[in-house]
Every structure is written in structure tokens, then in C-alpha cells.
């Protein structure tokens, strides 16, 4: 992999150069929190952010997306709105890039999702490293570093950013910026390693995911699920803010005064009461306890069987977003804890 470095004071120059490759979006402060947003000027970008409210998935799987337009006589015509829009997402954290790599697998396979794939192709990712806060547990989820899925990835090494070039487009960006990128030397590598070790030590939140699928199987009937079900409000916030939750609903709408309409998909959540409800009225996950159990089970156990790793990257968003303080790390720890059977 091509690795270069960029003096930090040249970053704004680089930002102005990459705009020729697409519309520049980056984390921006909004009411004390952060959101990915189109920049009106570079100084708005807050690359020192902790986490955005919504993950970058909103660019690739928009909260609402028209799939088809329907006209009598023409049938269903695919909508290509926004698919060819060029966007540069500047300042994506490793966990969020990792999450996109997970979504890549979901939206490919035997049936490729052409909408997701088109956006993934046209939205460039410039990653940036970060310092974990009290809600980050990406290291436990093996998502604190990412080695693909981005065009460029910047590591802060003090005076410089070390830039990993992850794609041919990323290389084009570097080339377009001319000589502001410099080769790295031994001292840069040593500085990177020192900072990497520091980052490892900075984690305040940890959990153990090895043999978690087995423990989930064993604790399938644990009373923990009933307790969580009693607490959960089924608001679905955890799903909305999750960078790897991809469930969606599809609904048709008719345009007033015509026989035409459109088919729109929108974000959905397995915590919503109708997620597993079928036409006959049967609901396969009616009780709230079974819904919240399903969410944990699918992410931490089911996904492992399907894709070889949990569909959780430890970004901490669900912990921050939950209005009743359901904390995934606490739940995992609670499941893992050895219970004193005699005192039950």
C-alpha cells in the first residue's frame, strides 16, 4: 500500500483540491453534537469529532429512497435519482469504514443491490483516525483499524497526517494535490507505532466477543431478555444510529390525481412491533422482549454464523442514543458473568 504524509497546515489546501472530485461532506458541529453534512466552507469541518449522530450509512442507504416510479402502461421504471452524484466524505472514522465494509457484504452476494453499489462507487471515503472516548469499544469489536474500503486514510502523527492510499481514486487525489504529499521515513513509522500503542491504552470500554455466539445460545432463555424487554421503549433509535443496521421497509405511494406512483424504501427496525408481522395476523416476534433479544442475537450471534463476525463495530452510538440507557456492552458483560446459581 502506498503511504505518504501531509503536513497538517496543508490539509486545507488538500481539501480544496479534492473538491474537483465531488461535493465535500464532513462532520460539522450542530447543537453540541456532530453530523455529516455538506460543507459550505472548509473551516466548518470538525475533524476532532467523537462520533456523528447518524453514521455515513445515510449516504449509501438513504433514510428514504425511491426505487421505482410506476406509470400505468409503463410498469415499474427504476429511479436513478442521486445515484451518480459524486460526494467526498471527509473524516470517516475506522469503525464507520469497517461498518461500510460489512454493509458491502450484505448488499452484494447472489443478489446485488444496484442502488447501494452505485452510491458506494460514487462516494469517496477519506478516513481519519481518532481517540476513543468513554463509549467507544471498537477495539473489542476488532474495528479500531481498517485496511480497506476507503480511498485515503489519514493518521494523525503530530505535525503530519500519514496518508494510506486505498484506491486508484485516492491516488488520483494525491496526484492532483501535487507535491504537498511527501514520502515517509523511519521516524514517521516509529511515531505512528508510538501513537498506535497510545490509542490502544486509551480505551476505557472493553468487552470480550470470543465464544459470544455460544453464550448467546446458552442464555437464549435468560431472564435478562425479559428485563430488557420491560425497559426498552421500542423506539428504534439504536437501529437508526447503527452503522451496520440495514433493515428496510418498502411501501408504494400513489400520486394524487393520477394512477402513477412510486415505490420507496425506508429505514426500519426489528424493535418495531410489526417487524415480523405477517398478513394473517401472526407475529413471530410479538413481545418486546423477543424483539430486543432478536436485535442482540442477530448482530452478535446470527451475523457471525452468516458473515464470520458480529455486525457491530463498537462505535458506541446506540449507547449514546438509547433513551433508557440500554448499553450493549453491559448486556454482553451481564450475559458473560458467572451467576451464583445457589443464590438465585
Amino acid at each position: 500500500m502506498k503511504i505518504l504524509k501531509l503536513r497538517k497546515d496543508k490539509l486545507d489546501l488538500f481539501a480544496s483540491v479534492v473538491q474537483q472530485f465531488g461535493e465535500l461532506h464532513a462532520p460539522v458541529e450542530q447543537d453540541g453534537r456532530y453530523v455529516f453534512k455538506r460543507l459550505t466552507r472548509w473551516s466548518e469541518a470538525r475533524l476532532d469529532y467523537n462520533r456523528t449522530i447518524l453514521p455515513p450509512k445515510k449516504y449509501f442507504l438513504p433514510p428514504r429512497e425511491t426505487l421505482f416510479h410506476y406509470r400505468p402502461g409503463n410498469g415499474f421504471e427504476p429511479s436513478t435519482d442521486g445515484l451518480s452524484q459524486r460526494i467526498i466524505l471527509f473524516g470517516v472514522h475506522a469503525c464507520d469504514v469497517y461498518a461500510l465494509n460489512i454493509l458491502d457484504r450484505v448488499f452484494s452476494g447472489k443478489y446485488n443491490d444496484p442502488y447501494y453499489q452505485a452510491r458506494r462507487k460514487n462516494i469517496a471515503i477519506i478516513g481519519i483516525d481518532c481517540t476513543p472516548d468513554e463509549h467507544c469499544f471498537c477495539r473489542s469489536m476488532r474495528a479500531d483499524f481498517v485496511d480497506d474500503g476507503f480511498d485515503l486514510f489519514f493518521y494523525d502523527t503530530g505535525e503530519y497526517y500519514q496518508a494510506l492510499v486505498g484506491s486508484s481514486l485516492g491516488d488520483d487525489m494525491v496526484l492532483a494535490a501535487g507535491r504537498i504529499f511527501e514520502p515517509i521515513d523511519v521516524a514517521d513509522i516509529e511515531e505512528y507505532k508510538r501513537r498506535s500503542a497510545n490509542k490502544r491504552r486509551a480505551f476505557q470500554l472493553e468487552t470480550e466477543i470470543r465464544d459470544l455466539p455460544e453464550i448467546f445460545e446458552m442464555e437464549y432463555r435468560s431472564e435478562i431478555w425479559e428485563e430488557l424487554g420491560a425497559k426498552c421503549l421500542s423506539c428504534g433509535s439504536c437501529s437508526m444510529v447503527c452503522p451496520t443496521c440495514y433493515c428496510y421497509d418498502v411501501a408504494d405511494s400513489v400520486e394524487l390525481g393520477s394512477l402513477g406512483g412510486s415505490r420507496v424504501r425506508s429505514w426500519d427496525s426489528c424493535l418495531f412491533a410489526n417487524h415480523a408481522l405477517v398478513g394473517s395476523g401472526e407475529n413471530f416476534r410479538g413481545p418486546r422482549a423477543s424483539r430486543i433479544k432478536f436485535r442482540f442475537y442477530h448482530k452478535q450471534r446470527g451475523f457471525v454464523a452468516e458473515y464470520g463476525r458480529p455486525s457491530c463495530v463498537g462505535c458506541g452510538r446506540c449507547i449514546v442514543a438509547c433513551p433508557v440507557h440500554i448499553d450493549v456492552v453491559e448486556v454482553i458483560d451481564q450475559l458473560r458473568r458467572v451467576q451464583d446459581v445457589a443464590s438465585r
Binding site: S84, Y111, P114, Y248, V250, D268, A276, S280, S290
Partner: protein, 290 residues
């Protein structure tokens, strides 16, 4: 530079789109039972109509323009191609919209999806089909497949139970099967207040008294409401069926049919990709299965 890419981007959406419904004409609407109609469809594109092939047990996503899309199991057999027969119960918003359509109206169809029955494994075995109520809809495809390719299977037994004679799906054609001696067709109703029913009266499990089943050389295909699974699975295990010779067709909410939308997920299987046909062994290993 961008232009070529834009075209390429849209091409996948326009040509290689798994969500694209193909328009099909309603050839016939046949009222089998109150609120259970059989819709016969043919794709408008003649080439597609002639080349579309499915396996018994598979389903399609059926679009009623303006109302929505839903998964419907295919009731016709691939041995009788060119049209698709879908048995639809009127239960919700989309099915209500479908029931307002008539012959020559147009709907959207995409598929076929799902695994279907493991036909290759089932060949040269006895077949036992057990259906209750609407459960006949997916099994009817397998039934006619086996009857049309009779040489490929050994004994064929169908046990089908409905509450009343007038609630039995495919009643006429199944009654005609009763007279055939190469199929043991056992039709039963829970009760017959009208007194005109000439087949069995009694609960579905009692049909086992009228069939000689050899579990080790038989594949059982079961479909019906939860009560059918409860009693039939117990019966099959009792007479010695291995758990992987019991096949079940499951129903789930589906929005995509292609393993993306998440609704039909059971544990770590997608009903749309890994099912809808599961063995009883699968069921034991998956939570919330039935």
C-alpha cells in the same frame, strides 16, 4: 469522464436490478373458496413467459401497483409452464387491492425466490404431503410436479384437511385425484354440516390410519397453520421419521425476497434465501421457527 461512469452507474439499476418487477397479465381469477382466489398470470414479455422456470416450494414477489409488494408461494407446477398460478388469501392491504383486479389487469412479478423442495434428494423416495387449510397452496406445486413426473417417485400420499368442505382449496382437482390408484389422496374435513361430503370426516392426524408410511424411505412435506405443525410433527416423529426427512414451508414477512431487508430473518437464516423450505432439524436449531 464522469459521463461514462454515470451511464454505467445507472445501467446496473436499469438492467441488473433484483427489485425490478416484470409486468404480468392476469389471465384468470378463479374463486376457489370465499376470500381464497386463484390468480393465473402470464408475463407480458413472451420470452419471459416461455423461459420462466421455478421449483416447487419457491415463491415470487407480487406487486399490485400503487398498493405494494408481497411474497406469494407458487401453486402451479413447473411441469405446466408459461403461466403462474398464485393462491392468495384476502387478508391485508395489498391482497385487498389485488382482489379489486380482474382478468387482463396487470400486476408485477419478480422471482422465483427461495430454495424450493430438495427434489433431487426426494427422487426415488415415497412422498407424504400433509397440508392443513391454506397450507395446500405451496404443496400443490409439489403435488402436480410429482404426479406429472410419476416415474421419479415411489408411493405418493396426500393428506389434506380443511375445516369444512367448502373451505377446501383446489377441491375439484383433488377430488379427481381420489379416484386415481397411483396416488393415495386423503381428503378430510373437521365437520360436514351439509352432509354432502363424500370423503373423510375427522382431524388431519387420523388420516395416518389410512396410509402405510415407511419413514426411512419417505420425505414428508408439511404446511399449514401452527396447529397442523404441532400435531403432525408429533405424529411423524412418533412413527419414526428422521428429522431431516420432514420438510416444512414457512411463512414470514418479506419486503425484498433477496436477503437484504431483514424482516424474514429467523435467528441467522433468511427465510427468503435459506428457506422457505426448512427441515425439522433446521427448525429445532432456529429460535422462533414455528
Amino acid at each position: 469522464m464522469l459521463l461514462a461512469d454515470e451511464v454505467a452507474t445507472c445501467r446496473a439499476v436499469l438492467t441488473d436490478n433484483p427489485y425490478q418487477p416484470h409486468m404480468a397479465r392476469i389471465v384468470r381469477v378463479y374463486k376457489m373458496v370465499e376470500n381464497n382466489y386463484l390468480f393465473t398470470l402470464r408475463f407480458l414479455d413472451d420470452g419471459l413467459a416461455r423461459t420462466f422456470r421455478h421449483q416447487p416450494g419457491q415463491f415470487v414477489m407480487l406487486s399490485v401497483p400503487g398498493a405494494g409488494e408481497m411474497p406469494i408461494s407458487i401453486s402451479s407446477s413447473p411441469t405446466r409452464p408459461e403461466v403462474l398460478e398464485l393462491c392468495v388469501r384476502r387478508v391485508g392491504r395489498v391482497t385487498n387491492a389485488l382482489y379489486r383486479l380482474r382478468a387482463n389487469d396487470v400486476v408485477g412479478v419478480r422471482g422465483p425466490y427461495g430454495n424450493g423442495f430438495p427434489l433431487r434428494q426426494m427422487q426415488n423416495n415415497d412422498l407424504l404431503l400433509v397440508a392443513g387449510g391454506l397450507g395446500m397452496a405451496p404443496l400443490r406445486s409439489l403435488l402436480w410436479y410429482a404426479v406429472d413426473r410419476r416415474d421419479e417417485f415411489r408411493d405418493i400420499t396426500l393428506m389434506y384437511g380443511a375445516k369444512r368442505p367448502e373451505e377446501m382449496l383446489f377441491r375439484e382437482e383433488l377430488q379427481a385425484l381420489v379416484d386415481r390408484d397411483d396416488v393415495n389422496c386423503l381428503l378430510t374435513v373437521d365437520a360436514d354440516p351439509s352432509g354432502t361430503w363424500r370423503n373423510h370426516v375427522g382431524l388431519l392426524p387420523t388420516m395416518f390410519d389410512f396410509a402405510r408410511i415407511e419413514p426411512l424411505r419417505t420425505y414428508a412435506a408439511v404446511c399449514g397453520p401452527p396447529v397442523v405443525y404441532k400435531f403432525i410433527l408429533r405424529k411423524l416423529l412418533e412413527i419414526g421419521f428422521p428429522k431431516d426427512r420432514i420438510l416444512m414451508s414457512l411463512e414470514r414477512r418479506m419486503k425484498c425476497g433477496v436477503g437484504k431487508c431483514g424482516h424474514c430473518s429467523i435467528g441467522y437464516k433468511y427465510t427468503c434465501l435459506n428457506g422457505p423450505i426448512f427441515t425439522y432439524w433446521d427448525a429445532l436449531n432456529l429460535p422462533e421457527m414455528i
